[in-house]
Symmetry: C2
Subunit: 728 residues, 2 copies
């Protein structure tokens, strides 16, 4: 599929450069010779080979094949200031093919990022800790916008950033003041294009007409296992055209910098559509094993490096050679970046005079802080409905109190807007204006039935400028499993969003076991850096929102009931952040029942049936927050002297940390109304009280220890995979 | 987009039917009048309205809009025997849009499945348990091939079934004996088409040229949140053509049965490609709120039902009306099905004479049992390598011992064939013969970088005929998070595959935190019905394979190390199924260290350093299997008198059930060589021994109870989201 000849230097290079400068007058007109550029390309290739060979690991092939793409981006196309990597007015670059990070690192070095010294780049795969040249790009490091690696997600991150840019532009740009007009560049390989999350994001980007998004496809037709003709024969260009994308082809992307630059210049001018630049390259070009899977993820070997260097006119005896002319070639990038930033600053100061109100709002947004006053706008406990309501609906009350008035929030759903209560009256949809459905100033996002992309897009929104957007995303809890790979990346990056996960247990009822989560909470509870909260009632829902809105560095996921729950007399929003607290019962309990979410109400009813036993009910909206409390607090909630039983309609896994016994789900659920299911699986207060009472009796004088955890509802129903009875 | 007129009966219906019977001579030539067919369609619509209205729930809209599609499938197109739903020679039907199950249930009733009485169908959303008419289709029930509901996966299940059919055909069909030639019909709505997993499967099906697969797209342009023009404007037909699919359009699918049948007839004749039939329908057609989101997932209301019935000429006062002529219309299906099966049986008996060897093999396959002798073909412990090897490589030894010789196995990877050791010498790839890469008899599958589809396809293979295929699927453990929604469905269905999850912890090293699982095991451990095994060495790997190969009703997932581990003197394959056992140390331990996988070796070294303490090391390859052992066994492994510490380089969540303290990961990982990481995060035997020894000293005379679990490595490294230090 790819064609290449490393010596086939484009005959039109210089003319094309001249042309380019006409169309991009902001790029300093500093021509370089074709020879120089080929030398730069070859230097990158040899450098990649040396960098992988030194520690015999890493991914050399893409760096070598896509060297010219890297040059086009960092030398000719992207606006950025290496002396201030977080300059707000910059273009943003997402390396969806994260394993090719070495290309990015080399570019960051050449283009003048202070921290990206040659020694820093040489720490790639080094046997040491805290290397800036991590195995995949990490958001913590200058010049990296988002952490990537798990394939496909980077495309969705870039879509989120493009949405961010479009929305800010619609909100803040004024005639003569294009304060937000950067492009989002995303580099994808063959892998990201195969992943479902990439496809979801591509489809949505086309729908939304995000013309600030340019997807640069390093189409080398090779993955780890060799040629992708083995498993992928889509016509990607035609496929993206069918999804409302502009497609520009480049047929020799390994060396023809002129064509790449021309394609990128053209992409910048496309209106109303995102653009795919489909660039054919040869992976590992110049290496003996070019165009094979082995050059994707393995160093070339000493002999391979020698072969490469000889072919490219480098001395095989020397390593990490960067001719001075190569540095000269990149010389302009620092000054240019400073000039761009200064120009932008000047525009901003005029903008402040011309449009003081929007400027002030933009400044507030740039601070990354929510507008003040949100906490007091939440309904107080005495203002909450006294009739039972689903916690998903209580969450809607919090949502409507804080979201409409603060432009920081964007909110949407994977096709369940009304079930998850994340829409509001008078909202504008974020849509392509020509659709007639909304415009880019809208803050209501319709993600479509694309849960994984939704959350990966949320990551892009959150990463655009820390704190400038607070995305709220929603679907049924079960489908947060589809989104889990992206939520994990959020936690890893320390970004913030709020996830609304409704219909959170067998309480979803008639939709049956396919929609009833049993084991999903356990992933989210084990995940470092994510606030996983299951509130018991409307008051705890307010506490969950407060916790999430105060925590700038972690995503929060609330799981919420479909079914109504009463407002509990003992519930307290201020105690949610403690993780657990006594919500009912005496000061000196003999028995504690810990429950979460909708099961707290059942636990309180159970406690009453267990009288005259002195039973405390503990609501535990967040295990992780409880674990962080001092022992004294933990022991005041769950006294050592008391027996403890956990009640939760999910798998028991993880509960033995707190409880001597538990009432949990041991199978998948079923199709039936929620009350019928709670009965069937044993969660009626009567059954719970009976099972717990008998067990407590058995434990008298012989308190269970570690290793004795008893599953009090085990055997309540036959194993799901025994022949299933059914009625006809 | 859709156009419709419920009275616009196609003028060509009867001629077309005549024509149809010419092209499908096996359908009894029993003409029905256009009036009768419209009555059947209308009856289904009123029935759907009544069935949803009775319990005020369910999904009426699709049933009403797609009634004619249902008739086309069950009356004209599909080969099946309602009197023997599991007749092997049948076509298979997958309802990817599982929420439309009521359409399937009504069709199963009309076409004569004994268990699907009208009362059975009326149990849809009934307030009772064990209803056959579950909220989404469930594999346990006659006429349902696979459990669906979470969108998009059904398409991938159907792709798996089509691969199964193709492969069996290539292996067992002989001239004049098309013993496996059924079609796989998959009905999808707008939701499945948006989901990434659906897109992944579509891409692979096109690549493989699965011409036994027909995707019937009920294109009503409406989802829960209303028109999909809000979020999805792909040209789906063009998109699928770009992925090597044939596309046939039907423009009035709500009523024009003739066109639907003609399209399906044509689809059956397409060679070398799967076919999409893009059928425009009007959701909830005839209802007042037709063509809206509300008719998708809500009953019509009494008034709505009255309106519908009046419009369709039914008496609003009567419910569940099925005119006798409607039953007459379906009368032929039972006898026809029996005749088809008898014909197939006759062919099979001739086939047995003509091709006794392949017939015998096919019979073995149909038994759903593995060929005998596999256990003894596994290398014994004394034959295992004595040098340290990665457990992923040990798994490759087991794989090569059992897989090549038994045609039940198919094996593949999401682009990591060689890293996961699931290929073998002399294998044939499962490929379209014209690709030149393999043929349909191949058992080596290249899934592409499509983890979610891989496992959902595995479910389709496993569901084709229980036990006939044992799919082995592989990728890095981290990317089993992408596949988790499909793995959950496997467990729910009680199907079998073996999942190979390599590079299972920080031992992946330089690839960094994006590739290092911390919290993923916790989902799989909590999931009911899945064998999650983390073997400690090559011997335990053999035990894991034995466990998986003996367990016909559950999927098994092995997590395996990238890095080498030694063969442990105390390891024992026969004890893997016990979940945990003492692998090192004295009979009367004061202290037990439980570890899993590669950490067992470290625990043994730690135990030695803790001398003179009497320390036992327990290997716990499976928590769930251990939990199922009697208390006496559990207490023999972890005596009440001993202190217990867990050591595992994942999050500690879940370990307090067994241990008083733990050594775990509290943050995400990092990019560095694996040894460096184990050191940094505190997993060196020296550090472990120091931390554990001090803690054991503190515990003297005061054994920790439930609630006292101590994280001995907490604070070992700073919180990941403190400002990250890095070196340049």
């Amino acid at each position: 599929m790819s064609t290449s000849n490393e010596n086939n230097v484009s005959k039109n290079r210089e003319e094309a450069h001249g042309q380019k400068h006409v169309s991009s007058p902001d790029v300093p007109a500093k021509n370089s010779s074709v020879e120089t550029e080929q030398l730069v390309i070859n230097t990158i290739r040899c450098l990649a080979a040396d960098l992988c060979q030194q520690f015999k690991g890493g991914h050399p092939g893409t760096v070598m094949g896509a060297a010219a793409i890297g040059i086009a981006l960092w030398k000719y196309e992207m606006r950025y200031n290496p002396l201030n990597p977080s300059w707000f007015g910059r273009d943003r670059f997402v390396l969806s093919a994260g394993h090719a990070c070495l290309l990015q690192y080399i570019m960051l070095h050449f283009s003048g990022y202070d921290d990206w010294t040659l020694d820093a780049v040489k720490s790639y795969h080094a046997p040491k800790l805290h290397t800036i040249a991590a195995g995949h790009p990490e958001i913590e490091f200058p010049g990296v916008e988002v952490t990537t690696g798990p394939l496909g997600q980077g495309i969705a991150n870039a879509v989120g950033m493009a949405m961010a840019g479009k929305q800010l532009g619609a909100q803040y740009n004024k005639e003569g003041y294009p304060v937000v007009d950067g492009k989002i560049w995303c580099m994808t390989g063959d892998g990201c294009i195969q992943e479902g999350v990439g496809q979801e994001a591509i489809s949505l980007a086309g729908h939304l007409g995000l013309d600030n998004l340019i997807l640069v496809y390093d189409n080398n037709n090779i993955t780890v296992d060799g040629t992708i003709d083995n498993c992928f024969t889509d016509d990607t260009s035609a496929k993206l055209r069918a999804q409302n994308w502009e497609v520009i082809d480049v047929f020799d992307g390994s060396n023809n910098l002129t064509d790449i630059v021309a394609a990128m210049d053209k992409a910048k001018t496309i209106k109303g559509k995102p653009t795919l630049i489909n660039i054919r390259t040869v992976i590992g070009i110049g290496a003996k094993n070019q165009n094979t899977g082995s050059v994707h993820g393995q160093a070339l070997g000493d002999e391979g490096v020698t072969h490469l260097k000889s072919a490219l006119g480098f001395d095989p005896a020397e390593k990490f050679v960067i001719p001075p002319i190569v540095y000269e070639y990149w010389e302009e990038t620092k000054g240019r970046g400073e000039a761009w930033e200064a120009e932008w600053d000047e525009m901003m100061s005029k903008y402040a005079d011309a449009h003081p109100e929007v400027h002030a709002e933009l400044q507030q947004r740039l601070s990354g802080k929510l507008a003040s006053g949100w906490e007091s706008s939440l309904p107080s406990k005495s203002d909450l409905p006294t009739d039972p309501i689903p916690t998903r609906k209580s969450s809607g009350l919090a949502f409507k109190s804080v979201v409409p008035s603060d432009p920081t929030f964007v909110a949407g759903s994977a096709d369940l807007l009304e079930s998850t209560f994340v829409s509001w009256d008078g909202m504008t949809e974020f849509q392509k204006p020509s659709s007639g459905l909304g415009d880019y100033s809208g803050r209501q996002i319709r993600f479509g039935i694309r849960e994984h992309a939704m959350v990966a897009i949320g990551n892009g929104l959150a990463a655009y400028h820390r704190g400038m957007f607070l995305p709220i995303m929603s679907t049924f809890f079960m489908f947060w499993l589809y989104a889990a790979p992206a939520a994990r990346m959020t936690a890893l990056m320390g970004l913030r969003w709020i996830g609304i996960a409704t219909h959170d247990a067998i309480g979803i009822g008639e939709d049956g076991p396919t929609h009833q989560p049993i084991a999903l909470a356990h992933f989210y509870r084990a995940l470092p850096g994510l606030n996983f909260i299951r509130p018991a009632d409307a008051e705890e829902v307010m506490g969950a929102w407060i916790l999430a809105l105060k925590d700038e560095h972690h995503p929060s996921l609330f799981t919420l009931s479909r079914q109504p729950v009463p407002l509990l007399p003992g519930s307290d929003r201020n105690k949610v952040a403690l993780g657990a607290y006594a919500v009912h019962g005496p000061e000196d309990p003999e028995l504690c029942l810990i429950a979460t979410g909708a099961e707290v109400t059942r636990a309180i009813e159970t406690a009453k049936l267990l009288s005259p036993l002195r039973v405390r009910v503990v609501s535990m909206p967040s295990m992780a927050h409880f674990d962080r409390q001092p022992t004294s607090y933990r022991r005041s909630v769950l006294p050592s002297s008391a027996l403890v039983v956990a009640i939760e309609a999910w798998a028991s896994f993880g509960w033995a940390r707190y409880a001597h016994a538990g009432c949990h789900m041991h199978t998948f659920g079923m199709s039936a109304p929620q009350e019928t299911l709670y009965d069937f699986f044993g969660f009626t207060p009567r059954n719970l009280a009976e099972k717990i009472g008998k067990w407590a009796e058995r434990c008298k004088g012989d308190k269970p220890g570690v290793g004795d955890f008893e599953e009090l509802l085990l055997g309540q129903v036959p194993d799901h995979h025994s022949p299933m009875p059914y009625s006809v």
